[in-house]
């Protein structure tokens, strides 16, 4: 029983990692950039949601929508202002720019008087509710996270697999030059994917708010979502979720059964083992260059 409860808690937490990892995978799949500002986008999303509920007084689900739109706009703006000009440059430079964006986002949020440095909670309709099933408990927050994660993942994966836009985005990440030759609007798609990924980040931020609260540094949880994405292969959306679940469960079990401190590095140990056993992750593509 104890064990199953731990696994359930781990799965719930894992979904959160997976949800954030989705954002990483989205941007990577379309632009082959690792977005180090993903966590900060999430934070911006959470603050937008906070603004929508407390200042504008919108109901929860409306504020979620408002936050998604606002954060998507932020994503679009970031792309337009700082990523577009270096589109096509080596991935490394772009990664560095996203790190810069992360710094700025954190700094700017803390600069907002009163609000920025504080920790806030977001009122939710399901706060504190728990579901009991036999001896197992799972909180409503987690149930919502799990549901939303699965739906989002399914929808986005379908987009990449079946829609022309989705395939074109993969194409442009593999060979940008050829994408231009095909008439794929690389620049517009770069903006689009940043918008989508920012909206996903907003969802993550708002769903996370009851669990971790809203504050300027909440984005650091992204560091844990990284391994989740890698375990899944970094190019697979379902992989990101599976990776997140694995890390969540391992953490929960390690925290209970293993020596102190192991819980904190469990994610990283798992990812290392994964990379040694299967270097491209669980669902990563085979990467052999043919000469």
């Amino acid at each position: 029983m104890q064990f199953i409860q731990l696994v359930v808690s781990g799965l719930a937490q894992g979904c959160i990692y997976g949800l954030i990892a989705l954002g990483f995978v989205l941007i990577y799949k379309a632009t082959e950039t690792v977005n180090f500002a993903q966590g900060e986008l999430m934070m911006i999303g959470a603050f937008s949601g906070l603004f929508a509920t407390t200042v504008l007084g919108l109901p929860y689900w409306l504020s979620l929508a408002a936050a998604m739109i606002a954060t998507a706009l932020v994503g679009l703006m970031i792309e337009r202002l700082v990523l577009r000009p270096i589109l096509g440059h080596p991935a490394f430079s772009i990664v560095m720019v996203t790190i810069g964006i992360g710094y700025m986002a954190r700094g700017l949020v803390t600069m907002i008087p009163v609000v920025g440095t504080d920790t806030h909670s977001l009122p939710t309709p399901f706060r504190g509710e728990v579901f009991r099933l036999g001896g197992l408990v799972i909180s409503a927050e987690h149930v919502v996270v799990i549901a939303v994660t699965l739906i989002l993942c399914g929808a986005l994966a379908a987009m990449f697999r079946y829609t022309k836009i989705g395939i074109a985005m993969q194409a442009m990440s593999q060979n940008q030059l050829a994408a231009y030759y095909m008439g794929i609007p690389v620049k517009r798609f770069s903006g689009l994917i940043w918008g989508i990924s920012a909206a996903v980040a907003a969802i993550a931020g708002i769903l996370l708010a009851p669990l971790t609260f809203i504050h300027a540094n909440m984005g650091f949880i992204g560091i844990k979502a990284f391994p989740a994405a890698v375990i899944g292969g970094f190019t697979s959306l379902p992989g990101a979720i599976v990776g997140g679940l694995i890390i969540g469960v391992v953490e929960a079990l390690a925290g209970f059964y293993l020596i102190e401190g192991f819980k904190d590095v469990a994610a990283f140990v798992v990812v290392l083992i994964m990379l040694v056993v299967k270097p491209t992750g669980l669902f990563g593509e085979r990467l052999a260059k043919k000469v």
């Binding site: 440059h89 720019v97 954190r106 700094g107 593999q174 391994p227």
Partner: protein, 362 residues
Amino acid sequence: MRFIFKTRYEQDIQLFQHSGQVFWYGLLAAVLLVAPLVVSPYVLTQLSQVGIYTIVAFGLMLLAGFTGQMSLGHAAFLAVGAYTEAVLAIAGVPFFVSMPISGLFAAIVGVVIGLPALRVKGLYLGIATLAFGTIVEEVIARAEHVTGGNAGLMVPPVKLFGLAFADGPPFYYLCLFMVLCAGLILINLLRSPTGRAFVAIRDSEISAQSMGVNLAAYKTLSFALSAAFAGVAGALYAHNIRFLSPDQFTVVQSIELIMMVVIGGLGSVHGAVFGAVFGAAFLISLPQVINALKPMLPQALAEATGLQPTIFGAVLIVVILFEPLGMYGAWLKLKAYFELFPFYRKGMFRRQKTFQKSDRLK
């Protein structure tokens, strides 16, 4: 641009290609040598810190820039060097013994961390090193008996031949000397077969292999060397900061170390040297510059929390946006401008369209 007639092969191989380089290196050396006479002790400590970071940057240039292996865990090597040095110094081991041991120990850890590099590339390697870095940080925090754990560890001043090299000029010159040695080693390696093998691995693993380059051996060597640089820097770091705690060596720190290399910019062999110096100077001086500018800002802004990361991020973005080749790239343009004056053409450095190509297949 300068045109050099070469009459002997040695000319191509020698340390300096032309008198211009000798001049700039000479100028840099002269400025650094007289620095203690003119600057305040505080600035001198900062200069030492720049020197220390320069050594780390050398190692990172070698690894990331020339071998093409990403490391997001370099703070771990710095930590290993620093803690080794601290523990040995506390035990009374003289510096000229403890410092090489610190470097060596970091190199050994580097080999271990380099092992996944044999199987994974690019992004995956980045994550693998990040994971290792986090684990090393945790190990240091846990090994309380040796490292003092999270409570931290005080480090005594450097002892060299019975003399105490506390802060101030002696320690500064020690750092300077180490930078010089490290720089020479870097340049020497890069202009010999080892350096070329690194470049080969970076550009095409398949053909490097077909040319007889043992990928495993050279990748491991590159990690070991880079870690050794960081380890030696860590030894100096321990004495400069004099208080070590695990949270000085986090992922964030690793990323800031990488930042140095990007900001500094990679170029030729000498580009790596200057890039490292620029990058390290940038990383250390930016907070100082921001502080210096504070009085000029409106009060509300100057006192705002989060001002520093905001500016830091903004500067980072601006540098990459306007000078993707880093500060060394900017320097080259400036130099070309003056050398060609008045024949400088406007479009000469106009940026071309560039297209990203997947490095998933390499």
